[in-house]
Amino acid sequence: MPTRETQGGLCIVSLGETPVQVEESVCSIVQFCFEITCEIVSPEPRPDFALDAIRNQYDALQLLDQIENRFPQPDKMVLATTGVDLFIPVLTFVFGEARLGGRSAIISTFRLREEFYGRRQDRAILLSRAEKAAGHEVGHMLGLTHCLDRNCVMHASNSLADTDVKSTSLCPGCHSRLPR
């Protein structure tokens, strides 16, 4: 497996519990698609400090700050996974958030679950969506912006339908824009 030696790789940390352990599957897809080394580190507690009591959602930007403080190594990217619902102040929700060209990102499984939409729980679907959400945010950390190709993992996901249509991999154009 070729690796990007110029980078300190990616570590994946869960914040609180997720309904299904997505970390391993996310880790392997990120290694495969982005060719970066990836490790899973011990879980952190549920980030209650970022809870907005009125919205009953967690502030994704505060969580990114927290992650960067908790993992200060400058050459290491950190992807957090969580089961809580995330938001940024101006939007109703986000599936995930990342610093564009930065080193922190977070994804939430909250709205990726079939149960959220009143359907039956489906572990396989959840894992597949989590892989896409993770790949997407890692792409942002590596400086990629949204792609018009609906199949590319960097296509914007503003609804679950967008997520379900796209694949877990990068289109050739986005792949060629990855830092070498």
Partner: protein, 452 residues
């Protein structure tokens, strides 16, 4: 790839403007967060913006003020107002003041993304449209019409001066003289050039179809009308409707056509709704319509309606040196098309071209050149490559040509032989050079352009 859309995000709350800016940047937009209304207005004057996203409630200069000030000078910038304190009153006020949209915080990401995408898409189309219009403008010369002869220059002057009026035009001339080309030139040089040019050949349609082609029909208007069909008058709305071979029109349709021209409205066949149309009518004929009117074949009132301006296209045989200009144009055209390179005509071929009567006019000339390109083996087009109807050469045709025409042809023949060496031509003609030059000027003859 085109330049990303430039978006200004105005909100006094830092976390909102920054998170929104970063969120938009991820879609590749060029986003600038701005912390207040006044700063927004300052930046608006100094830089170019595609979209403004402005918070309603801000101290001092609020969102509505930014909106109003923006639209005072930059009416085409879409301004989206967003607020966490939505009321019906502010929403109505913002929309009345010209906001593109009014969104309530927190905003559904799907909704916001779609609104922004829609604006960007519309702006890209508008830009593309502008580029295409410029392209149309650049085509709006008389490039397609070739001719330096006096009658053609007069005709082009006339085309230029009538283009901008809405008057009907009747283009007359023999078959093959380029009547549709003239109609297109009028359209392209008129204010209607961005709207459609729709051509209908009345003679090519069975009489029973002319009405349904021109006026369209409603579903069920007749057996087989299984869907609504728009007529050419509707399709040409805002543009030009070119009715070729108008002299072939049946009397019944002549009445309908007269009504449309007089009232600018019509009914589809089987329809009961009056449809307005703003199509300029240009018609063409190779018949003598006036004679048809006298004989009662063509309605007199329609004739005068169609004939506000008459443009008569001279036959090719009266266009002197244009024959060679056109022949060279077609030679170039078919060289490029066929990949067989032929650069010029032999002197004998020029003689052949200029002495022929061209009953089929420019169309016949074009066909002759195309055929010569195929059959000719030498780099020069030879007289033998031009398969012309020999019975049509001037001195064997039924009527004699005028002295003027004969002189013109003779001049061209001699000049063709001498390769346009005026001194030699003058010697052959036994006249002095000044006289020859005067005659060239008189007949609008000039040396065919040299190819590089």
């Amino acid at each position: 790839m085109s330049k990303p859309a430039r978006i200004m995000v105005v909100d006094d709350e830092k976390v909102v403007r920054e998170s929104l800016s970063i969120w938009l940047q991820k879609s590749g937009y060029d986003v600038v967060p701005v912390e207040g209304g006044q700063q927004a207005l300052d930046l608006l004057d100094r830089e170019e913006w595609d979209i403004l996203l402005v918070d309603l409630k801000m101290p001092r200069v609020d969102g509505l003020k930014v909106l109003r000030k923006t639209l005072e000078t930059k009416t085409d910038i879409p301004v989206i107002i967003f607020t966490a304190y939505a009321t019906v009153e502010t929403a109505v006020e913002a929309m009345r003041a010209g906001a593109y949209d009014y969104l309530v915080k927190p905003i559904d990401p799907d909704v916001l993304a779609m609104k922004v995408e829609k604006i960007v898409e519309r702006q890209n189309l508008a830009r593309e449209n502008l580029v295409l219009r410029k392209k149309i403008d650049s085509l709006c010369q008389f490039d397609e019409i070739i001719g330096n002869s006096k009658p053609m220059q007069n005709l082009l002057d006339l085309v230029g001066s009538v283009a901008d009026s809405d008057a009907t035009v009747l283009v007359t001339g023999e078959s093959g003289t380029g009547k549709e080309l003239i109609a297109r030139a009028i359209h392209r040089n008129s204010q209607r050039r961005y709207k459609p040019f729709v051509a209908v050949s009345i003679g090519a349609l069975p009489a029973t179809l002319v009405e349904s082609e021109l006026f369209g029909y409603e579903k069920g208007a007749f057996t087989g009308a299984d869907h609504m069909h728009m007529g050419k008058f509707e399709l040409a709305d805002g543009g030009t409707l070119f009715l070729d071979e108008i002299g072939e029109m049946e009397p019944k349709v002549q009445v309908d056509l007269l009504r449309v021209i007089e009232e600018n409205s019509f009914f589809r066949l089987g329809g009961n709704r009056e449809i307005n149309t703003d199509a300029r009518v240009i018609s063409a004929t190779n018949r003598n319509l006036k004679k048809d009117v006298e004989e009662g074949i063509f309605r007199e009132d329609l004739f005068y309606r169609l004939n506000v301006i008459e443009i008569h296209l001279p036959p090719l045989r009266e266009r002197g040196a244009d024959i060679i200009l056109l022949a060279e144009h077609f030679l170039k055209k078919y060289s490029a098309k066929s990949g067989r390179k032929k650069e010029e005509f032999s002197p004998k071929a020029i003689d052949r071209l200029t002495s022929y009567n061209w009953p089929g006019n420019v169309r016949e000339l074009e066909n002759a050149i195309e055929r010569a390109m195929v059959v000719g083996k030498k780099p020069q087009v030879q007289a033998g490559d031009l398969w012309l109807d020999k019975s049509r050469t001037p001195f064997t045709e039924k009527g004699f040509v005028s002295l003027k025409d004969a002189e013109k042809r003779h001049l061209l023949q001699v000049l063709g032989e001498t390769g346009w060496n005026v001194t030699r031509a003058a010697q052959i003609l036994k006249i002095d050079r000044a006289t020859l030059y005067n005659k060239l000027k008189l007949y609008g003859l000039s040396r065919p352009k040299k190819r590089s």
